[in-house]
């Protein structure tokens, strides 16, 4: 046995994280909600729920439904809005020694730009995570993240509006994710996180109604993990910037799959609902795995896929 504990720290978008494990946006509130279960100082980063320029009401109820080894959600990006976030949520982060990634979105290019600008002078926010899985209301609802040109446009705009490290989060609902990944890299992304949820639907057969009011919702959870691992594998090969792997991570073994295909860090989403302390178990499990395998640095494992 290795007496020294293996190094877990990784660099993402120029930020040193104490370990590669962080929550996925929208599944961990603003962090504070989980403080009774998780010592936030043990996480690699905190990722906020998606923020928008104005407070957003979100979708009607019901908003969630369970599916086989997955869940659908159509929260509708409900959030307090960027100003309330800065005023009411950020002060809490001063007590936490963990970098905060602010996830945000917009319905127009201008909105994206404006949110980015308002986060410039917020010292509590270390980096931006740009969610491009949102419909562009001005361009007929086409999702920013499914068109490489629209994706590049929003990324360069945000890039100019705010100098903080910029992570761009990709949608999996595309024919070729590497095209989008390359477009956002060229436009200035410092890192890429993927994947967001797959669009899905479930029906209550008795009432003949969709199980969620919005009809379709985002599928997350272990069901989607193979799709996520595949996409992360593809993106890692297509770009030079670090990639954060997301999708169905429940255990350390799941997280390791992403790291082995080359993800520099991972985000844990749905698992937080099932076990509020899931991320801590994942961090401990990764450390134990490294020790078992005789590796003294997690960076030896990252991208170690044998093909």
């Amino acid at each position: 046995m290795n007496a020294k504990r293996p190094n877990l720290s990784v660099d993402v978008a120029g930020i040193r994280l104490r370990n590669p494990v962080m929550p996925a946006s929208g599944t961990f509130g603003y962090g504070e909600e989980y403080a009774p279960f998780v010592d936030l100082n043990r996480l690699g980063a905190i990722v906020t729920k998606g923020l928008s320029l104005n407070p957003k009401a979100g979708n009607p109820m019901p908003r969630i439904a369970e599916t086989t080894s997955g869940m659908l959600n159509a929260i509708g990006l409900q959030n307090v809005g960027i100003d309330a976030f800065v005023a009411k949520k950020c002060p809490y982060y001063r007590e936490v020694a963990t970098p905060v990634f602010a996830n945000f979105f917009g319905n127009t290019l201008e909105e994206y730009g404006e949110v980015a600008r308002r986060l410039c002078d917020v010292p509590e926010v270390t980096a931006l995570e740009l969610n491009i899985s949102c419909p562009n209301v001005k361009q007929g609802g086409i999702v920013f993240g499914t068109d490489p040109k629209a994706a590049a446009e929003v990324v360069s705009l945000v890039r100019k509006a705010n100098a903080k490290p910029l992570i761009v989060k990709l949608s999996p609902n595309v024919t070729d994710i590497t095209v989008i990944a390359r477009a956002v890299e060229e436009a200035g992304a410092d890192a890429i996180s993927c994947i967001n949820t797959l669009t899905g639907m479930a029906v209550d057969i008795r009432s003949r109604r969709p199980k969620i009011a919005n009809r379709t919702g985002g599928l997350s959870g272990p069901a989607i993990r193979p799709v996520a691992v595949r996409m992360v594998h593809q993106v890692v090969q297509a770009v030079k910037v670090p990639v954060i792997g997301i999708g169905g991570i429940m255990t350390a073994a799941d997280a390791l799959e992403f790291l082995i295909v080359g993800a520099r860090a991972v985000q844990v989403g749905t698992a937080n609902f099932i076990d509020p302390a899931a991320m801590l178990a994942i961090i401990d499990g990764i450390e134990a795995f490294l020790a078992e395998e005789g590796l003294d640095d997690i960076n030896q494992l990252i991208g170690s896929l044998q093909v």
Binding site: M61, R63, I75, Q78, I274, P276
Partner: protein, 288 residues
């Protein structure tokens, strides 16, 4: 609020489709308030994965045993088998491991109002009323339980309420137990008899909407306990929202059932819409 990794002490069918599960939970009783709930999950590989929300029926303590077993604090659920998750729960045995997150949410507010306390339960909606009854009786209040169900099989635990000293009035849709008809008819009658009252209700949404109409028409204070599909139970996912009073798309007023509820003062909620929607719970979202 704690995440217990604990075991089942017993799990028994008490009426067709209704089960009572006793779970070892040291320290739980001291922090649990009437009307709070837990998120539960069997600790075994399962195709379902989200925890299920359940009201806290009661807490208690097993005395030490001759075998030397020390006293054991427990909490109890009463649950109805409705889908895959509750069916799996009903197949668990004493000794099986479960994960229990709780107590969660905001329970009933027990103020100093001296009027008679009317507890209105519909079916499994009875669950959060038992600890409330215990607290009210302990505080010296006169407590009546109006318990409604579809048939006699849906009328649960009434004798346990009676043992506390609660006056109980049972009604069933088919008259198979107690009075025939809706529990709301009984409520109207009781309020007409003695208008100085405070009402606490839990049950299906149409029942709650009717209770709300009855109480607001008479200016009787009302608290209701709601249900909503939940993922996290702690206010993080925003899956469980209901529309609060004055909610509009322009000025959203969302409330989290899990964190700002499950018990709400009737005045906090948007009844117009909730009643119209016919959903199993008021509709809406999380106020920030």
């Amino acid at each position: 609020m704690k995440n217990y990794q604990t075991i089942i002490l017993s799990n028994q069918e008490i009426a067709p489709g209704y089960w009572r599960m006793r779970i070892l939970a040291p320290g739980f009783a001291a922090v649990a308030h009437p009307g709070q709930f837990v998120m539960l999950r069997p600790e075994q590989p399962l195709p379902t994965m989200l925890r299920r929300p359940f009201g806290i029926f009661r807490t208690g303590c097993l005395p030490p045993e001759c075998s030397g077993l020390p006293p054991r604090e427990y909490m109890e659920l009463l649950y109805k088998v409705v889908g895959q998750g509750t069916r799996i729960m009903s197949e668990l045995h004493a000794g099986d491991r479960v994960e229990l997150l709780g107590p969660l949410g905001r329970g009933f507010a027990v103020g100093d109002n001296a009027c008679a306390k009317l507890l209105v339960g519909g079916g499994i909606g009875l669950v959060p009323l038992f600890m409330l009854a215990e607290a009210l009786i302990a505080a010296g209040h006169r407590v009546r339980l109006l318990m409604g169900g579809r048939t006699r099989d849906d009328i649960l635990a009434v004798t346990e309420f009676e043992r506390l000293g609660v006056e109980t009035y049972v009604s069933t849709d088919d008259g198979s137990l107690g009075e025939e008809g809706l529990v709301t008819n009984v409520l109207e009658r009781k309020l007409d008899e003695a208008p100085c009252a405070e009402v606490f209700a839990c049950g299906p949404m149409p029942m709650l909407a009717a209770v709300e109409r009855i109480c607001s028409a008479r200016n009787v204070p009302l608290q209701v306990s709601l249900e909503a599909h939940m993922a996290c139970g702690v206010g993080a996912c925003l899956g469980c929202v209901v529309k609060g009073a004055g909610h509009s798309d322009q000025r959203p007023n969302y409330l989290c059932t899990c964190k700002e509820g499950p018990v709400f003062a009737a005045g906090q909620l948007d009844w117009g819409r909730a009643a119209a929607s016919g959903e199993g719970c008021a509709e809406g979202g999380c106020r920030q």
